[in-house]
Structure formats: structure tokens, C-alpha cells
């Protein structure tokens, strides 16, 4: 996991070329296989694509786009979801019913489908992807947080803040929120992985990021076009890297969940 982050942060210093800089790419380098296959050459460790772009460099740059979208998506979806969950759980009554019925309706549809349909109405672009991810992602946060708030608000220290007359907002942010933070962190870890996968899938279908800033999913989609000509490395390696990232995140998520779950101790 740490390695993935380091690669995304500092990787660009070590790659042989900047895949966005057209002058650095030479068409004569196109269709080179990875260096261990016959015909491959060394600067291009994982081969090159149909425009002579180095696959390894493209992966490093692509992973930055994917990770940024994953993190920002979690921040947006988490922000909305946590706020709504706090409100629903703390105030209860009609507000609670309204928010939770909305969540129920949305939960009965798979997130992938909603994201797909949302993106079919939006234009391509990073900000639109983030909107779509926030729309599909808030529900799980809202439900988790609401459930926890229902327990926390019965505790004495929360009742005490009411007695001393603290405004609701202050009670929520200062006293309720810190007590539900663990589950938010655990959920966020898993969600980053989910969002990266969702984004990759959308980009693969051509409904994601614009082609000028390819994410890992976009690279796969690009490589799929030449898969039938036998250029397997163009699409297989970016996909493999997505798997590595998400695998790492899922393992971390599993670990955190077991670590913070009092029932398993």
C-alpha cells in the first residue's frame, strides 16, 4: 500500500518519459513488447503502446489520476453521508425517516448501475465522476453513522451536553462525531478501493475521465483496442496494477475492521 502511494507521489521523477508530453513520445518506438519478450528494448520495461508511449510511465501517471479520484470521492461521499447520518441519527423523527427511505430506495439498486446511468447524462470529466461517486457513495456512510449515533446519543456524556445547554451543532461535532470516527475510517478504506474500481470501469466504458488524462481504467480501454492484434501488454499491465492497489486497500480494510471490532476480540 505504502509502495503504491510512493510510486504515485515520486514515480514521475524516475519514468523514462512524460506520457502527456507529445514531444517526448516517438512513433518509431510504437508496438514494443516488454523487455523480456523477443523484440523488446530496455528503457521500455513493460513495452510501449500504439503511439510509442511507455506503458510503465503511463501506469505511474495513470495511478495518480485513479488514486486522486478514489481519495476525493471518499472525501465527498463521506462528507455528505456522515453529515446526513449524524442528522438522521441525532434528530430522529421525520428527518430520519426521509433520509433513510431515500437511502433504502438507492440501496436497492447496485451502485455501479447508478454511477453508469449518472455518467450517461453527464459529460466526461473528473469533476463529474466525483459527483457520480458522491451520489452513489453517501448511502453507506449515512447508514453506518446513523446506526452508531443512535447508540452514542443515549450515553451520559451526550445527555450531559444537553443539560449544560450546548447547541446541537457543537454536541454533534465535538462529542458525537469523534465517537463514531472509527467506523468511518474503516468504511473509507474499503470505499477508496471500491471507488477506484468504479472509476476504472466507467473509464473503460468511455464514460469516465477524458482521454487527455488517462486513469488506469482508461489505459485498459485503450489497450483493449489492440488486444486482438496480440499487443496484450498494453492492457494487461494497467489492469494488474489496479488489482494490486485495490487488493492492498482491501487487505488494509479487513485488518482495520478486525482490529476495531470489539466482537471479534
Amino acid at each position: 500500500m505504502l509502495i503504491v502511494l510512493l510510486v504515485a507521489l515520486f514515480g514521475p521523477c524516475f519514468t523514462v518519459q512524460n506520457p502527456y508530453n507529445l514531444s517526448a513520445i516517438s512513433l518509431s518506438d510504437a508496438y514494443k513488447p516488454p523487455f523480456w519478450v523477443e523484440g523488446g528494448e530496455l528503457p521500455f520495461v513493460l513495452g510501449t503502446d500504439q503511439q510509442g508511449r511507455d506503458i510503465l510511465s503511463a501506469i505511474v501517471y495513470g495511478s495518480r489520476v485513479s488514486l486522486v479520484i478514489g481519495f476525493l470521492g471518499v472525501i465527498f461521499a463521506g462528507g455528505i453521508g456522515v453529515a446526513l447520518g449524524l442528522i438522521a441519527g441525532y434528530f430522529g423523527g421525520k428527518t430520519d425517516a426521509l433520509i433513510m427511505r431515500l437511502a433504502d430506495v438507492q440501496l436497492s439498486f447496485p451502485t455501479m448501475l447508478i454511477a453508469l446511468l449518472l455518467m450517461s447524462f453527464f459529460e466526461q470529466g473528473v469533476s463529474n465522476i466525483l459527483i457520480a461517486l458522491a451520489v452513489v457513495g453517501w448511502v453507506r456512510y449515512a447508514r453506518t453513522v446513523r446506526g452508531e449515533v443512535l447508540v452514542v446519543k443515549k450515553k451520559e456524556y451526550v445527555e450531559a451536553t444537553k443539560v449544560i445547554g450546548l447547541p446541537n451543532r457543537q454536541t454533534l461535532v465535538k462529542h458525537v462525531l469523534p465517537n463514531v470516527l472509527t467506523s468511518i475510517i474503516v468504511l473509507s478504506t474499503i470505499q477508496i478501493g471500491n471507488f477506484i474500481l468504479t472509476e476504472a470501469t466507467l473509464s473503460f466504458l468511455g464514460l469516465g475521465v477524458p482521454i487527455t488524462r488517462p486513469s488506469l481504467g482508461m489505459l485498459c480501454s485503450n489497450g483493449f483496442k489492440v488486444l486482438y492484434s496480440g499487443l496484450w501488454w498494453v492492457s494487461i499491465f494497467p489492469g494488474l496494477y489496479i488489482m494490486l492497489i485495490v487488493f492492498g486497500i482491501n487487505l488494509l480494510g479487513d485488518f482495520l475492521r478486525d482490529e476495531f471490532n470489539p466482537r471479534l476480540k
Binding site: 430506495v105 436497492s108 439498486f109 447496485p110 455501479m112 448501475l113 453508469l116 446511468l117 450517461s120 447524462f121 453527464f122 478501493g193 474500481l197 476504472a200 470501469t201 473503460f204 466504458l205 468511455g206 464514460l207 481504467g217 485498459c220 480501454s221 489497450g223 483493449f224 488486444l227 486482438y228 496480440g230 496484450w232 492492457s235 494487461i236 489492469g239 494488474l240 489496479i242 488489482m243 485495490v246 487488493f247 486497500i249 482491501n250 487487505l251 479487513d254
Partner: protein
Amino acid sequence: MFKYLVTRIGQLVAVLFIVSMLVFFMTSVVGDPLQLLVRQNASNEERQAAMEYLGLDKPLYVQYGKFIVSTLSGDFGKSYMYHTSALRLIAERFPATMEIVIVAMLLSGFIAIPLGVYAGAYPKRMLSKTVMTLSVTGISLPSFWVGMVLIFVFGLHFSVLPVSGRGQVGSLLGIQTSFATLDGWKHLLLPSITLALSNMATILRLTRAGMRETMKQDFIKFARAKGVRNRKVLFGHALKNTLIPVVTVFGLQLGTLIAFTTITETIFAWPGMGKLLIDAINAGDRPIISAYIIFVAFMFVFLNFIVDLLYTLIDPRIDLS
């Protein structure tokens, strides 16, 4: 039971109403269907005529009224691309999609549940740990990538399986389906595996989690003490008591599978609903998109209803009303 049915149908109507509003306003606000119909350098009169042909010149609420009326009578309008009824197009593609979904569901049911039972009953064994690691890999894999790898390995490298299209269809019980021919089955295999993989991982993990809790309970010890055969304890007693969450997720996963067919069908050029949707999105063909969304919404409410009914079958103590 009757009261329960009425509430469920009420919910169905409410959900469909909300979905229809969303669909209508989103399709009306975003995208320009005129692009499809008129030439690039069309005159204003030609554009006007096309607007009138599509009914786009009227105010939004009139359009919505017309949309609702025609939707209720099962008419989603004519597709801009194919000039036939959008609903019929979806109905034509539906069997192809269901074929890969059914095979994928069967694959995941018959492979994932037994493995989950095993891994849950004997969590310390080597095989269980391997299975669990594989399942984390399974949920981390992008499904389009699995499809590509399968195409490359089986289609291009070994050239043993076809990788594109639906192959021959034969007639079975009056429906044109790939199940009837060997060629059809060959075409079915790779898309179904692609679809089944992440689904299998989810169901496996869920079954295992449930089994681990159930195996600690007293009635399992009692059954063992009674001398019930091992297989009967695992599948008869333990699995039966973990089945509720599994069935719920199985129902939900069926929905997810239908969503993911868009990707699988794109990769394998499978002529199903998902491919139709993607083509429609790329071409801005609104009637197909709205018909698809409403069709899927309807299907989901229906699926959730079936899952609820299954609960009562699995556990007679559950009373729906």
C-alpha cells in the same frame, strides 16, 4: 399476506414514479437528441420540423404528461436510432442477457456456497486460507480486466473458445436461445465466467462469515453429539441457518450482475441489453435509455419482493405482515 402485497405494490408504484421523474428530467435537460436526426448543417426549419416530430417544442410538463401516459401503456417511444419501439428492442435483447446472468448465477451458487461452507467450518485449514486469499483477489479484480485476460488466454493464445458474439442460437421451448446449441454454449462460457468471478467472491465471503458464527452454536454441537454425518451437519443444519443473508445478497447480486453485463457484453460483443444501453448512451438515444432504466427499476422491486418471499420459505418463523 394480502396487506403485505398491497404495501409492496404501493412501494413499487412510488419507486417507479420517482424513477420516471428522474429519468424524464435528466433526459430532457442533458444531451441533444436533435444531433441524431438532422444533418450537420441543417437549416432552422429542418431543426424545427425535427423538434415537432419528437414533441420537443412543447413545454416540459406537457412532455412529461405525454411521457407518463405512453409509459403506462407500455410505449416508451420509438428509438431514434432504430426507429422501432424502445421496449421491444429491450425485450428482444433480454434473453441474451439473461443467458449469461443465469449461467453466472449457477456458477457462483454451486462453487461459492460449498467453498464458503468449507472455509467457514474449518477456518484454520490451508485450503480455507488459500480460498480466502483468492476471494480478496476476486473482489479486487476489475471485471473488464478479467474479460480481457480470458479473451487473450483462451481466445487468442490457445484459440480454443470463441470470444465475440453470441454464436448459433437454437429454439428451446419456443425461445431462441444459446442453450440449445453447442456453439452457443461455447460462446456463453467466457462471458459467464467473467461475470461470475467477483460475484463468487462476495457470496463466498458472506457464506463463510455466517458459517463461522453458526458453527459455534449449541445445536451444531448437539447434532454432532447425536452422530449426524458431517456433510449433513454442514449443509443441513449449519448452512440452513446462515442462508438468510446469503439469499438477500444473492438477490442483490443478481441485480449487480445485470448492471455488470454492460461491461461484459461490451467486451465480448454480446448482443444483450447492456450492449444496447451503452450504444444508446453513446448515440444519445433517449427512449432506449429511459426504457432501460424503468425496466431495470421494475425488475429490482420485483426481485426484492421475490427475495422477501424466499425468507418465509427458508425460515417459517418470519412473518412478512
